[in-house]
Amino acid sequence: MQISIRNFTKTFDATTVIDDMNLTIRDGEMLALLGPSGCGKSTTLFTISGIHRMDKGQLMFGDRDVSGLPSQKRNVGVVFQNYALYPHMNVFENIAFPLTVRKDAKADIDREVRAIAALTHISELLERRPGQLSGGQQQRVALARALVRKPDVLLLDEPLANLDAKLRLEMRSEIRRIQLETGITAVLVTHDQVEAMSMCDRIAIMKKGEIVQIDTPADMYSNPRTSFVAGFLGNPPISFLSGIAMENAFSVAPIKLRVPLVPQEGIADGTQLKLGVRPEHFGPEGDIAVEGRIAFAETQGRENLYDVALADGSVLRSIQPAGRNWALGDTVRWHIDSKSVFVFTDDGQRL
């Protein structure tokens, strides 16, 4: 089911948390809401589920306007940031709860709960209390409870935040598998870009209550519209150099760096610009030479990570395959891949 949010505004007391947001989530897709802490991700999610009411705007499920509907009637499944399992019920009763309150027949409830428990791999835990489960198990119970009544929409609020690295990896593919199997429209709230990129069809990046860009993970990475998006995606992150426009090139005079602005001609000379260089686009190979000194070196096993300090004090990050190692303090003459850099205006808009 397609979800569209139109002109959504949310105010807590006097502070406007979300201002005039528009967002469409396609039928059957999994969309990530990605953004720094406090940017309004949970608020958006809770508004879709009906826990928060919109101050202004409209929410459509398909072509049904659900803006005024209480959460009980929206048929959404929510996995909360801290799971919110009912501590006094065992796993079976927790999962069965949405069906119990709907007064389904006992036999039906039993069948449905067992089916969803099999799907989420918790069949052997049905008798336990939430307090007797590990974080990952609780997470799957929460997921099962959200899915059991076949909701139109699945909303996940940082479901993996409390898990260890290995379990997180496992659950990532698990949730994606279940979402694909059930074909449900899902929204995943996260501030982990890897999670967003690996699990979702599209990513919406939020900043201070606004959606700054919405795209597929690959497009978002290779074609960021603002320096914020470019900086938010990628690990290790992109590095920026400040300079000015000069004769159709990005120029940093003190270090004699000149990167031609190939597609964007006609920028007035002297305009302040920012150049974004991803770590994989700076290294021994490339077309524009830059000289610097290794200021930081870190081995990550398969790859090595370097910070190269340039003569004017600015820093470029680089990631290189392990094997040929540079040491701290080495002077290097490396190159920027000029076809892969992003140029932004001083206020962060991509040129």
């Binding site: 809770f46 589920s49 009906g50 826990i51 209480p70 959460s71 009980q72 929206r74 048929n75 959404v76 499944g77 929510v78 909360f80 940031q81 801290n82 919110a84 399992l85 009912y86 501590p87 006094h88 019920m89 709860f97 949405p98 119990t100 309150v101 709907r102 409870r145 009544r149």
Partner: protein, 440 residues
């Protein structure tokens, strides 16, 4: 290391327990022990709480007659004897009887005894130096009078000696029996419990107590929960006001609170006037009828407990993470289902606490009833604790029966203990408190 750690843990545990044990001993066991001790005595205002002496009184004779002591012995106890012995002669001299006359009595009547004053006086009149005035003669005769009636003996031995002196051929065991009965101090006895068990009043008071506790408790928990849940769903400003409003019965001094209820329910009070205006029967609702008296008693105590329950329940409600409530709404639960399936089950512990705490405090509380209906009309609203209080500490006849009162209090303690155990079982206390959360 491994082997020594459980030992260390035990010691540490014991050290942590010590303050609790001391408090338990001081505030629980000691009063219970004292109550138990008193409960097995017949202490009262009459006996005092220190030792007593041995006196045969008119009352005692009557009760001995009732208990079937033979009439001859009773008669003899009530009689005066006139015995001419050394002690009597000395008493006569001390009373200022003519020395010559005393000498004559000693010489002629020594060691004789008379069972009536007239016979003795007739004998005295035959003596040569008898006084001329009848009054002097009576004084002389009186010096030889011997009676156990209303004479205080400090020890049992003296009482028994006096009795055997008085009684010729007493029936088997009669002297011991009379001596025991004549003791005015307190003694050890289990009669308090026997009397309680057979007294018809006992069961009526038990019935009253059960009725009172069950209804007041139901009111406490139900109204407390209702208030807590409604204020929970109210916006914060309103809920704060209501919390304070419902706290008033709790924080008002008991006497003032009782007086307010009196104004409210007595003749010409608030309810009286309203009932009159509406053409309903208007009377003193506090004492005028059994039904209205019970209603007042249960409401008076109910509101105090309800505010107590409300505070506890409100605290427990706020401890439920709001995400659980959100989750239940998203899961499709109506407000009522949310209360029924999410909130109430998680209130089990506070409900247990309020129920058990209130049962015990209601069982042992009498102040509000004492200050309002005082157990009336008649003794229809008299509960066990009030009766115990009146028996032991406050009654009209002036004979306070500490022993019986303590026995009644001990029954309350026993009932309280049994109830506590039942409650803990019922609410599966062990499950909630199975393991200490922090391991040593």
């Amino acid at each position: 290391m491994r082997a020594s750690s459980p030992h260390r843990a035990n010691l540490l545990g014991l050290a942590f327990m010590t303050p609790a044990m001391v408090l338990l001993l001081g505030f629980f066991f000691l009063p219970v022990v004292l109550t138990s001790v008193f409960a097995f005595t017949n202490m009262s205002t009459a006996t005092g709480i220190s030792g007593g002496s041995y006196v045969v009184t008119g009352n005692l004779l009557r009760s001995l007659t009732d208990e079937g002591l033979d009439a001859k012995t009773i008669d003899a106890l009530g009689q005066s004897n006139y015995v001419i012995d050394q002690a009597g002669l000395e008493r006569a001299r001390a009373a200022g009887v003519d020395a010559k006359f005393v000498a004559e009595i000693a010489e002629r009547l020594k060691d004789r005894s008379f069972t009536s004053s007239s016979a003795f006086e007739r004998e005295l009149k035959t003596l040569p130096s008898r006084p001329t005035r009848v009054r002097d003669l009576k004084i002389a005769a009186g010096a030889f009078e011997q009676s156990v009636l209303n004479v205080r003996y400090a020890s049992r031995g003296e009482m028994e000696a006096a009795l055997s002196h008085m009684l010729e051929n007493p029936p088997e065991g009669a002297i011991e029996r009379i001596a025991t009965a004549s003791y005015t101090g307190w003694t050890w006895t289990t009669d308090n419990f026997k009397n309680l068990a057979i007294a018809p009043d006992t069961w009526r008071i038990v019935g009253n107590t059960v009725f009172y506790v069950v209804l007041t408790l139901a009111f406490n928990v139900a109204v407390g929960l209702f208030l807590a849940i409604t204020t929970f769903y109210l916006p914060p400003a309103g809920s704060g006001f209501f919390s304070v409003l419902w706290l008033l019965p709790r924080i008002t001094p008991v006497v003032l609170y009782a007086v307010m209820w009196k104004w409210f329910t007595w003749e010409d009070g608030f309810v009286f006037n309203i009932a009159q205006d509406l053409g309903l029967p208007a009377f003193n609702y506090m004492k005028g009828s059994v039904a209205s008296a019970w209603t007042v008693v249960i409401l008076v105590n109910g509101f105090v407990g309800a505010s107590f329950g409300m505070i506890l329940f409100s605290g427990a409600l706020k401890a439920i993470p709001v995400q659980q409530l959100w989750a239940s709404e998203v899961d499709g639960a109506s407000r009522w289902q949310q209360i029924r399936y999410i909130i109430l089950p998680q209130m089990r512990w506070p409900i247990l606490f309020v129920t058990s705490y209130q049962t015990l405090s209601l069982l042992s509380s009498y102040e509000q009833i004492w200050l309002t209906t005082n157990g009336g009309p008649g003794s229809t609203t008299t509960i066990w604790a009030l009766e115990a209080f009146k028996t032991a500490l406050n009654n009209y006849t002036g004979n306070l029966q500490y022993g019986l009162g303590a026995a009644m209090a001990l029954v309350l303690v026993a009932v309280g203990l049994v109830l506590s155990i039942v409650y803990l079982r019922l609410f599966r206390f062990d499950e909630m408190m199975s393991k200490p959360k922090i391991e040593f």
